[in-house]
C-alpha cells in the first residue's frame, strides 16, 4: 500500500498543473509548498515501506503506526475543513471528496500497523511463516481495504470510457479491409477498373472510398467505422452527376 501510494503521488505531479492543489495534504499547506509536500509524502512512504520490509528495529515498526495515525487525523481534518478536496492518497485517482470510507481505510491501516509492531515481525520473515491461514488472513485484509477504497470505482470508470466514434481517430486501413471483405465489394468488383481507391475521405462515423469503373462512372462505397461487423453501402455514379443506381436495394447491406 505504501509503495503504491508513493508511486501514485509522484505520478500525479506530472499531470495538469492545477490538479495537485486539489489533493490531500497539499491542500493544507500554502500553495508554494504543494508540490514539494506531495513529493515529501511520497518519499516518506517509500522509506517506510523499505523499513518495514527490511529493517528489524522497533523504530521501523512503530514509524508506520505514527504515519498512518497522523494520516487518519489529517483526513478527518481535511473532511471538516475542505469538504471538496480529495484525499490524494493515490495521486489523481483519489479526487473523490474524503468520506468516511477513506478515513475508515486509514484507521484500518493504522490498526494493522499496530498489530505488526506488536508482533515484532518484518517482511523478511514472511516466507518462513507462510501457511494457509496466513494467506487467508492477508486476502481478507486486502479485500477489506479494497472495499474501503473509493479509487477502485474511479479506475473502472476510466478504463471503460471510450470516445464516441465521431471523435475517435480511426485509420483507414481497417475500413478498407472491411470493405474488401463485404458483399457489396464482391458484387461490384467485376465492374471496377482499379483495385486501389482513387479517393477516400471521412465524415463523422462513415468513411467513403471511390473507385473508377470501367465504363467511366464511379463506384462509391460507404463503410461505417464502429461495431463488429459494420454496414457497407454502395452506389454507382455516372460522371455527369445524378446517381443512376443506389445499389443497396439490389445488394443486401452487409451486417
Amino acid at each position: 500500500m505504501l509503495v503504491l501510494g508513493g508511486v501514485a503521488k509522484l505520478a500525479a505531479g506530472d499531470s495538469a498543473p492545477g490538479a495537485l492543489a486539489r489533493l490531500g495534504p497539499a491542500v493544507l499547506v500554502p500553495e508554494r509548498f504543494a508540490r514539494p509536500a506531495m513529493i515529501c509524502c511520497a518519499a516518506g512512504e517509500f522509506a517506510l515501506a523499505a523499513a518495514l520490509v527490511f529493517a528489524d528495529h522497533p523504530a521501523a515498526r512503530w514509524l508506520p503506526v505514527v504515519f498512518f495515525s497522523i494520516a487518519t487525523y489529517v483526513l478527518w481534518d481535511l473532511r471538516k475543513r475542505r469538504p471538496d478536496a480529495g484525499c490524494g492518497c493515490f495521486g489523481d485517482v483519489s479526487v473523490a471528496p474524503v468520506g468516511l470510507r477513506s478515513i475508515a481505510r486509514s484507521a484500518v491501516l493504522t490498526a494493522m500497523a499496530v498489530l505488526v509492531a506488536l508482533e515484532r515481525v518484518t517482511g523478511a520473515d514472511l516466507p518462513a511463516l507462510w501457511s494457509g491461514t496466513v494467506a487467508a488472513w492477508i486476502a481478507g485484509y486486502a479485500a477489506l481495504l479494497l472495499l474501503l477504497s473509493p479509487e477502485v470505482e474511479e479506475l473502472i470508470d476510466r478504463v471503460r470510457y471510450r470516445a464516441p466514434c465521431e471523435q475517435r481517430r480511426i485509420p483507414p486501413g481497417r475500413a478498407l479491409s472491411r470493405l474488401k471483405a463485404s458483399a457489396a465489394w464482391r458484387a461490384h468488383r467485376p465492374m471496377l477498373a482499379a483495385e486501389e481507391p482513387s479517393d477516400m475521405w471521412r465524415e463523422l462515423c462513415w468513411r467513403f472510398f471511390t473507385f473508377p469503373a470501367k465504363d467511366g462512372s464511379e463506384v462509391v462505397f460507404a463503410v461505417y467505422l464502429s461495431g463488429r461487423r459494420p454496414a457497407v453501402k454502395a452506389a454507382v455514379v455516372p460522371p455527369d452527376g445524378a446517381p443512376a443506381i443506389a445499389d443497396d436495394s439490389r445488394v443486401p447491406i452487409s451486417r
Binding site: 470510457y161 465521431e166 471523435q167 481517430r169 480511426i170 463523422l204 464511379e218 452527376g241
Partner: protein
C-alpha cells in the same frame, strides 16, 4: 429574391505527403468578387473555364458531396442559407479605382468594375477608422454591401490577419516577429509599430518562440503591420494544446464556440478536426473542444449567433493553426471555448462579422 450561391474553386489544393496516390497537388482559381442577391451568376474566369475541362471530377468539393449523398441515400442540400437564417450580406472585393464622398468604384480580380454608393452611416478602416472618402487609390478593399451589392455599408482596406507560432522576436521600439503560420501557408514576418506594441504586449504576455500569436493588421507598401491583438494569447505552448473534455453523453447535433477569420484565398471554412492522412497535414486533428472528424468537401451550416445570419459553407482548408487556440469570443455574451471554424474573409463578412473584432459566437452543424 433568389439567392445564388457563390462560385468556389473547382479544385482542391492538397499537400503531397508520403505515398498517398489519391491525394494530388492541383491548381485552384483565385476567388473572384461576386454579388449576392443578383440574379445573374458571375461568368467563369479563364482559370475556372480551363479547370472545368481538365479537373478530374472526383477531386472537386461538390463531387464528394454528391458521392456521399448517393452512397448514403440522402438528398444533397444546396449551398444556401437554411430556412430560418437571416440572409447573409453581399460583399465586393477588389482594388479602388476611384473614390469620392458618395461613390466608390472598385475593380475586382476578374477586371469587372463595381460602382457602389457609400451609405451616409458607412465607416472605413485602414489601420485606424477613417472616412471612406480618404481611402487611397489602389488599396485592396473588402466592402460589405447592402441592397444587392450597390450600397457600401462598411469598408476595410488592406486588412490582413496574422496567426501562427512565434519563431523569433527582435527589435527595441518597433518589434519584428517571425511567425510560422502552419504547413499550408508561408511563414510571415510582421512588424509591430511602436504605437501598437503596448496593446499587443498586454494581450500577448509571452512574446517568445514557441507560443501562439494572433493579430489583425494591415499591409502597408508590402510590409505587414500588426495593429490590433485578436485575442488573449493562450498560456500554453503551441505544441501543448489541452485535450478536449470527455463526452460522456454522446455527441450533440450542433456545436457552439468561436468563429474567426483567416487570410486565405478559397471561399469556405478551414476546420481543425481532419484526419491527418486525408488532409495531408500532420498537425491536423488538434482541438480543445470535442469536434467530430470531417474532411475537405464536407459542408457545414454556420450560424452567427449574434445576428442570426447563417450560411452553408464547404470545408476547403485544414484549420490546424486555428485549432490550437482555446479562446472565447465576447461579441454577444460569452461563447464556449475553442475555435471551431476559421472562415475565409469573404465568408466572414457575409455572415455579419466585423473584421477588426476578429471573431463571433457561432453555432455549427453538419449542413
Amino acid at each position: 429574391m433568389v439567392f445564388i450561391p457563390a462560385l468556389w474553386p473547382t479544385g482542391i489544393n492538397y499537400r503531397k505527403v508520403g505515398e498517398k496516390p489519391f491525394i494530388l497537388e492541383e491548381d485552384f482559381c483565385p476567388r473572384t468578387a461576386h454579388r449576392h442577391g443578383n440574379h445573374t451568376a458571375p461568368p467563369l474566369t479563364a482559370c475556372e473555364a480551363g479547370n472545368v475541362g481538365n479537373a478530374t471530377p472526383y477531386r472537386a468539393v461538390d463531387r464528394r458531396r454528391m458521392l456521399a449523398a448517393a452512397a448514403l441515400g440522402r438528398e444533397v442540400a444546396p449551398l444556401e442559407p437554411a430556412p430560418g437564417d437571416v440572409a447573409p450580406y453581399g460583399t465586393v472585393r477588389g482594388s479602388i479605382i476611384d473614390v469620392s464622398p458618395h461613390l466608390i468604384v472598385v475593380e475586382d480580380d476578374a477586371g469587372e468594375e463595381h460602382r457602389l454608393v457609400i451609405a451616409p452611416w458607412a465607416t472605413a478602416w485602414r489601420g485606424a477608422p477613417i472616412a471612406p472618402a480618404e481611402l487611397p487609390l489602389r488599396a485592396n478593399v473588402i466592402i460589405r454591401a447592402l441592397h444587392g451589392g450597390t450600397v457600401a455599408d462598411r469598408v476595410w482596406a488592406d486588412i490582413t490577419r496574422i496567426t501562427g507560432t512565434i519563431r523569433s522576436v527582435s527589435g527595441n521600439r518597433d518589434l519584428t516577429i517571425e511567425l510560422d503560420c502552419g504547413p499550408h501557408r508561408r511563414p510571415r514576418s510582421v512588424v509591430v509599430p511602436y504605437r501598437a506594441t503596448g496593446r499587443i504586449r498586454v494581450r500577448h504576455p509571452q512574446l517568445e518562440p514557441g507560443y501562439l500569436f494572433d493579430a489583425i493588421g494591415m499591409i502597408d507598401e508590402g510590409t505587414t503591420l500588426a495593429l490590433l491583438p485578436a485575442t488573449s494569447q493562450p498560456p500554453y505552448r503551441a505544441n501543448a494544446v489541452p485535450p478536449p473534455p470527455p463526452a460522456y453523453r454522446g455527441v450533440q447535433p450542433t456545436i457552439s464556440g468561436t468563429a474567426v477569420w483567416g487570410d486565405f484565398e478559397e471561399y469556405g471554412v478551414a476546420y481543425p478536426m481532419l484526419e491527418p492522412g486525408d488532409a495531408g497535414c500532420e498537425d491536423a486533428g488538434v482541438s480543445c473542444t470535442g469536434l467530430p472528424y470531417l474532411s475537405l468537401g464536407s459542408v457545414l451550416h454556420v450560424l452567427n449567433e449574434c445576428d442570426r445570419r447563417g450560411n452553408r459553407l464547404p470545408i476547403v482548408a485544414c484549420g490546424c493553426v486555428a485549432g490550437r487556440f482555446c479562446d472565447r469570443c465576447l461579441e454577444c455574451g460569452t461563447s464556449e471555448r475553442g475555435r471551431i471554424v476559421e472562415l475565409s474573409t469573404t465568408a466572414y463578412v457575409e455572415l455579419g462579422g466585423e473584421l477588426t473584432k476578429g471573431c463571433f459566437n457561432v453555432r455549427v452543424g453538419l449542413g
